[in-house]
Amino acid sequence: MGRYIVKRILWLIPVVLGVAILIFTIMYFVPGDPAQIILGASATQKEIATLRQTMGLNDPYILQLGRFLKSTFLQLDFGSSYVNHVPVFQALTERFPRTALIAIVCCIFQIVLGIPMGIQAAVHQNKWQDRTLVVLAMVGISIPSFWLAQMMILLFSFKLGWLPAFGITSWKSYIMPCFCSMLMGVANQTRFTRTYMLEQIRSDYVVTARAKGLGEHTIIYKHALSNTLIPLITGIGGDFGAALGGTVIIENVFSIPGIGQYMVNAIGNRDYPVVRGSVVFLSIAFSIIMLLVDLGYAFIDPRIKAQYIAGSRKKAKKEASTNG
């Protein structure tokens, strides 16, 4: 078991490095001269040239990449904003809790709402519960979350005045952003849970369980659900990533001071260290969550667990089991 954990953690390193290199490379080709952006429109050619030299912008790609990797990973220096010279890393750590909060609430509701609804749909297949839930889920995955956000602001803030539309004034400020973020995730989760449950309900071991005289409740929640949870849990990691991505846009609609808003403002200002740093930061967060999900998955699925039990016990069992 320990070997699997270590192996999986070690695997994180090349992925994170690869992500950083990929992001750096993509942004390397962004049009515009950073030196010019920093100094502004009134700068002279000479000033720009000097700044380019100081920033090392004339060095070959490999050197710049090396410098980027070194400062990012060894010094936790993600650069500073072109606009206000605040270190990016500092701003990111300040803003991350708000973004993470929305993403985590999303995931929690996916589990708490999506999975039970999917189970109900599967258990009552083709009856009214199933049809209603499937239709609702379909609509849920078809609504653009930021548009829904605007519709909700229209109704709950402008027309009814119940909830604040912009910024963080109280815990109420999080209600609409969380709801809009979680809608697609919950709808997707309902659909996936329904699909997997239907598959499990039709499998042979369920027939065996019925022939044993077990009640429907035990069969669904003890037998079928434990098998369904396995692919669902692997999905939850990916859902967190999608939630992070979705939060970026939602934060903009609600002007929530999280990483999303930080990043999008930077796009408009061509403040590239901010954009780059934000994406690297969020990608690393995502990778860590995926790692935790993978590890959790190994604990739940006994087939994976067994693969990593000490070799000698495995060999002994193998000998015993081949004797029919």
């Binding site: 994170v16 379909m138 078809s142 548009w147 602001i153 999608a242 991505g245 846009i249 796009i267 969020l282």
Partner: protein
């Protein structure tokens, strides 16, 4: 000697004919199954409607989509302008109808490029084991470690706003997952016995790929294509909202949303209408995608 070969040739032709007939029957069966699914058919009808709108857009409303009319700016829906007008007096109905062209085009093109790229890479990874396969899969891992929206934002920013860059930005988010699916399928098919049989009678690699492997991945490819299409409408609108992607004055639905976002409070029609169109298009493609999947994937049958 001539007689046996003539007979053999006849048999071969007969076999080919019956094989093709069987394939046609299978497709027809799938199609019939799909037609029985009323919900999917509704989606299909909506898609056809959207396509018609896209083609005949200029003839469908009396205003041109880019006709500026400052005197009639910011009108709420009325008899003359069923959806109202925007800040420059342009009729929203015409703009939304004309925007159908751009939205459909972006969605289709980006999904197509993404899938084709995915098939190419997935086939490479599936067919050639070893270093090539490993490299491609590691690339996919790294690409997928970046949340899709962020990746689209990154690529879009580098390439700038505009049609082509948006298509590429969105295609890049589809390609990795398609690569995985195609690779898994190909690995599965490769190991099946009919491929062994093909090799045993000395089929060339090219023949194996074209005649045997590719046709078997078509159903899954169709399912992936239609399934991901609906998301493209929403993603491209999202990019426009952030200032990337397609920008005004192009009447793409996402750009229309961007145009209208400042006026949410007093002229909500500018935001409501394009959003509804996006939602309807996404829903239609989702319904059709699900219907196709139910019809083509034997496992889903009851």
């Amino acid at each position: 000697m001539a007689e046996p070969t003539a007979a053999a040739a006849l048999d071969k032709a007969e076999l080919k004919r019956s094989a093709r007939a069987a394939k046609r029957r299978a497709f027809r069966e799938g199609w019939h199954r799909m037609c029985r699914n009323k919900v999917a058919v509704t989606g299909l009808v909506v898609i056809v409607l959207l396509l018609l709108i896209a083609v005949f857009a200029p003839y469908l409303s009396k205003y041109k989509y880019d006709a500026i009319d400052p005197l009639h700016a910011h009108l709420l829906p009325c008899a003359d302008h069923p959806f109202g007008t925007d800040g420059l007096g342009r009729d929203l109905l015409s703009r939304v109808l004309y925007g159908t062209r751009y939205s459909l085009a972006i969605a289709f093109c980006s999904q197509l490029v993404g899938i084709v790229l995915g098939i190419f890479l997935g086939a490479l990874a599936g067919f050639f084991e070893g270093l090539v396969s490993d490299l491609i899969m590691r690339f996919c891992d790294i690409f997928q470690a970046i949340p899709a929206t962020l990746m689209a934002i990154l690529v879009s920013q580098t390439l700038g706003a505009g049609f082509l860059s948006t298509v590429l930005a969105l295609a890049v988010t589809t390609a990795p997952s398609t690569t995985r699916i195609v690779r898994a399928l190909i690995l599965q098919i490769r190991n099946q016995e009919f491929i062994e049989a093909g090799r045993a009678i000395n089929c060339s690699n090219g023949l194996l790929i074209c005649r045997h492997i590719l046709p078997n991945i078509i159903p899954q490819v169709i399912i992936s294509f239609t399934g991901g299409l609906s998301g493209k409408f929403i993603e491209s609108a999202g990019l426009s909202y952030l200032g990337l992607g397609i920008q005004p004055p192009t009447p793409e639905w996402g750009a229309l949303l961007t145009d209208g976002k400042a006026f949410l409070r007093y002229f909500p029609n500018l935001v409501i209408v394009p959003g509804v169109f996006i939602m309807v298009a996404a829903l239609a493609f989702n319904l059709v995608g699900d219907g196709l999947r139910d019809a083509l994937d034997p496992k889903m049958r009851d």
